[in-house]
């Protein structure tokens, strides 16, 4: 039964290739001369990106099962497999990771002044570990990747970070490590309760007693909520973001946070459907609090990076909101929003990094009048800022809209409160833009403000392209998700507890003309 639902792509082991290439790059970087380390690492990450493209082009959108599957026995007792595969949920996230890593190397090209080699090695190890989390189909393998990434991230923050980096690094490390404790125990319990296997697909098909589900749900929650981070487990995030070097912030915001929401989507929902439904109100409440609280905190920040860090808390609240709406729109919106947040927030952190490299200040008050001094830069910044706000035509709009549609079907009040977050986002982002782009320039900084060089220009352009591509024509990306998301939703309807009826609002139907692709999932939901 399990064999039939995985679609193997014969021949080339693409996923292994994507996993191993960065490690080969690590070897090459290690052996190379210091001056060659940057080109080698960049080449490696670009090759990895190219090697990951077949995942997109050869992807079969007709099936919700795992594709590009590889499975080899790794350890006999207990049977642990080196099992890899992607579906429509994990594939976009893998691509996001391989896409962002070269940009992270580019953004660090001159910003990192010491120990370049070690920096690049950490970055590449990080890439392997995060991709490994997305593609692992064995729970132990998943956990190994999940934990492995802590070490390079710890070093990225602790060695190359800001003045308070040591504190931020250990805080990040201990928070996430503590969160994972219960995850490991849950994995072990699942092994014995789910038929003596660590196979994620097999464990998903097994059913568990509701009381056990409740315990496992909270064990998963501990690990994933810290990673997302959900309110009230978010306190490590502002510290880590502010202290991390730019590339570290980008990886952290764009990829690392997605691991938590991916965990909810891959494990909590399909494996523990009853508990997920039971505890949805709690998750929804926490998500709404995160959205509003994050936005509110962002309003009060005087440090640009901290502002964006809190905005991440707010945006990730939308993702968890969409996931636990339990319908196709909500979950597709959530996955799309994971990608969008990766692009937009990653880009915003890069923008902050660029300005920090020039003025060595992240204070809003010390960075003003960029529109005159750095017109190109200001244009990019405004585009990403508007994307973050969720302006129609840009990527975040589609994701947030779908999430809100999904949540509206679940509960109107929740959707209304969440929509408040979008308004607050407009307030803090536009206020930020007003002050640093259009405000008066600080005289002492003026001489340092040189506009983008070709490297910086080049690394921001692909991000802008994605912002508009997803914003204007999200269909290809949504098509990839349909089948897999349908499968998650189906696992949900198996649940004993009846899910709330899906409500279709007139308003939604009107809006769906704006984005035709949003209609597709709606049609699925139309016939209960």
């Amino acid at each position: 039964m399990i064999v039939t639902e995985v679609v193997a792509t014969g021949g080339m082991p693409w996923l292994t290739l994507v996993l191993v290439l960065p490690l080969l790059g690590v070897m090459a970087t290690l052996l190379a001369h210091e001056s060659l380390s940057r080109p080698i690492a960049l080449a490696t990450s670009l090759i990895t990106f190219v090697a990951s493209l077949p995942l997109w082009f050869a992807f079969d959108i007709g099936t919700g099962g795992m594709q590009f599957v590889e499975k080899h026995l790794w350890i006999d007792t207990p049977a642990i497999h080196y099992a890899l595969g992607v579906d429509g949920i994990s594939m976009p996230l893998v691509l996001l990771t391989t896409f962002l890593t070269p940009l992270c190397i580019l953004v660090s090209w001159t910003a990192i002044e010491t120990r370049m080699k070690e920096f690049l090695i950490s970055l590449l190890v990080m890439e392997t570990a995060t991709i490994g989390v997305f593609v692992a189909l064995d729970f132990v393998l998943f956990y190994i990747f999940w934990e492995t990434m802590l070490i390079p991230m710890y070093l990225l923050i602790g060695v190359w970070g800001g003045p308070n980096r040591v504190y931020a690094a250990i805080k990040f490390f201990l928070y996430t490590l503590a969160g994972s404790i219960l995850l490991l125990v849950a994995i072990l319990v699942l092994y014995f309760e789910g038929g003596q296997t660590f196979d994620i697909l097999a464990l998903t098909h097994a059913s568990y007693a509701p009381s056990l589900q409740a315990l496992l749900f909270w064990a998963f929650f501990a690990a994933f909520a810290v990673k997302v981070p959900m309110f009230p487990f978010h306190t490590w995030l502002p510290d880590a973001h502010v202290q991390a070097p730019t590339a570290g912030s980008v990886i952290l915001a764009s990829v690392l946070l997605k691991l938590g929401t991916y965990g909810f989507l891959r494990f909590s929902l399909p494996m523990l459907p009853d508990a997920s439904v039971t505890y949805t109100p709690i998750i929804m409440a926490l998500s709404v609090i995160a959205i509003i609280y994050g936005a509110y905190m962002a309003l009060a920040q005087s440090d640009i990076k901290k502002l964006i860090a809190y905005s991440s808390v707010s945006h990730m609240g939308f993702v968890t909101l969409g996931i636990f709406a339990f319908n196709a729109q909500g979950i597709e919106g959530a996955v799309l929003q994971m990608v969008n947040h990766g692009i937009t927030t990653g880009a915003l952190f890069m923008c902050v990094g660029i300005i920090y490299e020039r003025t060595h200040s992240r204070e809003i008050s010390e960075n003003g009048g960029l529109a005159h001094a750095m017109p190109k830069y200001a244009t990019f910044l405004v585009i990403f800022a508007l994307s973050s706000v969720g302006l129609p035509g840009m990527n975040s709009f589609v994701g947030e809209f779908l999430v809100l549609v999904g949540v509206f079907a679940w509960d109107k009040l929740t959707a209304t409160l969440a929509a408040l977050g979008i308004i607050l986002a407009a307030v803090y982002i536009l206020y930020l833009v007003q002050r640093i782009v259009y405000g008066p320039a600080a005289p002492k900084m003026l001489s340092k403000l040189t506009d983008l060089n070709p490297r910086e220009f080049g690394m921001l352009v692909p991000l802008v392209v994605l912002v508009f591509w997803i914003g204007l024509y999200p269909k290809p990306l949504l098509d990839v998700m349909h089948a897999s998301v349908k499968r998650v939703v189906a696992s949900q309807s198996d649940s004993v507890i009846v899910q709330p009826p899906t409500v279709l609002d007139d308003h939604v139907l009107v809006m769906s003309d704006v984005i035709p692709s949003a209609l597709a999932p709606l049609e699925i939901e139309d016939t209960p």
Binding site: T77, L150, G158, I181, V189
Partner: protein
């Protein structure tokens, strides 16, 4: 009664090593001072030969000397581990003794004699045999702890170790004598028969059991019998500390488990809660006190106490009432796996401490590691690997060890114990990472930059390479070692 010559074959490795140890003591005075290394190489050679002999023991269970000695896969597993550990200790010592200027050839003889003691412990099928092994090991270690004879700290360590060690041996012996009084025998099998017979509820039997647990508790450094550990580990020469922390702990655990399962298997309800309590306290105290240490050797001493606590999880599972034999043997095999992995990472860490020199002294303060990543990239990275592994973070072997241990615990229905252990593993990450932090994230003062350096002789490089290979390879391909441990668990028939 004539000496059963046939039985001598079963203890051939022990005889060989004793012979070589005596030979070294004889050769030492007549060899010129510059050539003492030859004696170390001879010691390594004999370990290699013994390893080849012991490989053949992974098979049937043979009793020898009318039931005093047993040779089985369980003993063979531990002996192989002890050979590796002793070999690495000798290699490390070759450079370390030179740096410390205490290069005396007796040292290698002592390592070998202590090794024989440990081998007798793991092969003992009679409480007296085991006791003899313990004494041979301990007395040799008392001397080795004081090997820096001109340094007060080392002598103090030796004296402390001797007093407390002798005390604990006395307790153990008292337990054994009580047991002999009740059951009329010191053979493990005969005690087991008596335990299952009418003497089970004899209060003296319980007292004897408790005294024996206390005696072994001292040897494995479990709380509350751990008090000697930090001072002795700190004062003893670092190569000796490494040897004590790894080899003597492994051998003590091996004998402890054999006694508990083979002799007292029928009294599991009487001892498993006691062991559980000791386990909880050991894990908690070891990890918490390690946080406040500023001396690396003391920190590693407390860390070794904590790891003894984790290993006790295996004992708890092995003796948990109501578990099937298969689950119980998982406890045993996970303990064996854990201690094997622990040996590599701890030896590696101590080798780094031994070779970090500050002027003519050891750099044993955590401060001395400051900025090491700038001057010795490779060395700092190795230390990072050892620390990460000790904290139990994948993809290192330390994670695999904890994974199997806690999997056994969950299997026995002790999920809460796994949670408890993992919480403290997360706490331990704090102090292990502090070393990573000072190495990578602090700038060394000019003085530190001038004074501290890493002495990497070829021998030490081999030790570090072995240790790091063990930590990394066992982390990625633990399969073979897991299978060997599974095959080497105590014969199940004796566990009731």
């Amino acid at each position: 009664m004539s000496l059963p010559l046939g039985d001598l074959v079963t203890i051939l490795p022990e005889l060989l090593i004793v012979g070589i140890a005596c030979l070294i003591l004889v050769l030492d005075p007549i060899m010129s001072t510059g050539k003492k290394d030859v004696l170390a190489w001879i010691s390594l050679g004999v370990l290699g030969v013994c390893a080849l002999i012991t490989v053949g023991d992974f098979g049937d269970r043979t009793m020898a000397f009318s039931g005093l000695v047993v040779v089985d896969a369980y003993a063979a597993f531990w002996k192989m581990l002890l050979y590796v550990v002793s070999g690495l200790t000798i290699l490390l010592s070759m450079s370390y003794l030179k740096e410390e200027k205490i290069e005396l050839a007796e040292y290698y003889a002592f390592v070998l004699l202590a090794l024989v003691g440990m081998m007798v412990m793991v092969s003992g099928a009679d409480l007296l045999t085991i006791y003899l092994g313990i004494e041979l090991m301990s007395i040799t270690l008392y001397i080795m702890a004081g090997f820096k004879r001109f340094e007060a700290r080392s002598i103090e360590a030796s004296a402390k170790y001797f007093v407390l060690g002798a005390f604990s041996s006395g307790i153990l012996l008292y337990g054994i004598s009580l047991l002999f009084g009740v059951t009329g025998s010191t053979r493990l099998t005969e005690i087991a028969a008596a335990v299952n017979g009418p003497t089970l509820n004899d209060p003296l039997m319980l007292l004897a059991l408790m005294l024996i647990i206390v005696g072994f508790g001292f040897k494995v450094a479990a709380v509350p019998f751990h008090m000697w550990t930090p001072d002795v580990y700190e004062g003893a020469p670092t190569s000796v500390t490494a040897f004590m922390a790894v080899a003597s702990k492994a051998a003590s655990f091996a004998a402890f488990l054999r006694v508990l399962l083979e002799a007292f298997g029928g009294m599991r309800p009487n001892w498993n809660l006691l062991i559980l309590a000791v386990c909880l306290f050991t894990v908690a105290l070891g990890n918490l006190v390690a946080i406040v240490q500023t001396n690396v050797k003391r920190m590693l001493a407390y860390s070794s106490i904590a790891h003894a606590g984790y290993a006790l999880v295996g004992v708890v599972v092995a003796g948990w009432v109501g578990t099937e034999a298969a689950v119980s043997s998982r406890g045993v095999s996970s303990l064996m796996l854990y201690l094997a992995i622990y040996s590599f990472m701890t030896l590696g860490a101590f080798a780094m401490v031994a070779m970090l020199r500050k002027g003519g002294l050891e750099g044993e303060e955590i401060e001395d590691f400051t900025g090491l990543a700038k001057r010795h990239k490779g060395g700092a990275f190795l230390m990072l690997v050892f620390m990460v592994s000790l904290a139990g973070i994948p993809p290192t072997a330390g994670f695999i060890g904890k994974f199997y241990l806690f999997m056994a615990a969950v299997n026995a229905g002790l999920a809460w114990l796994a949670i408890f252990g993992l919480i403290f593993a997360a706490i331990s990450a704090f102090y292990y990472l502090r070393i990573v932090m000072v190495m990578y994230m602090r700038e060394p003062s000019p003085e530190q930059e001038r004074n501290t350096r890493l002495v990497l002789s070829p021998q030490v490089s081999v030790v570090l390479a072995f240790a790091v290979a063990g930590v990394v390879l066992l982390g990625i391909f633990p399969g073979p070692l897991v299978s060997i441990a599974d095959l080497s668990v105590l014969p199940l028939s004796s566990v009731k």
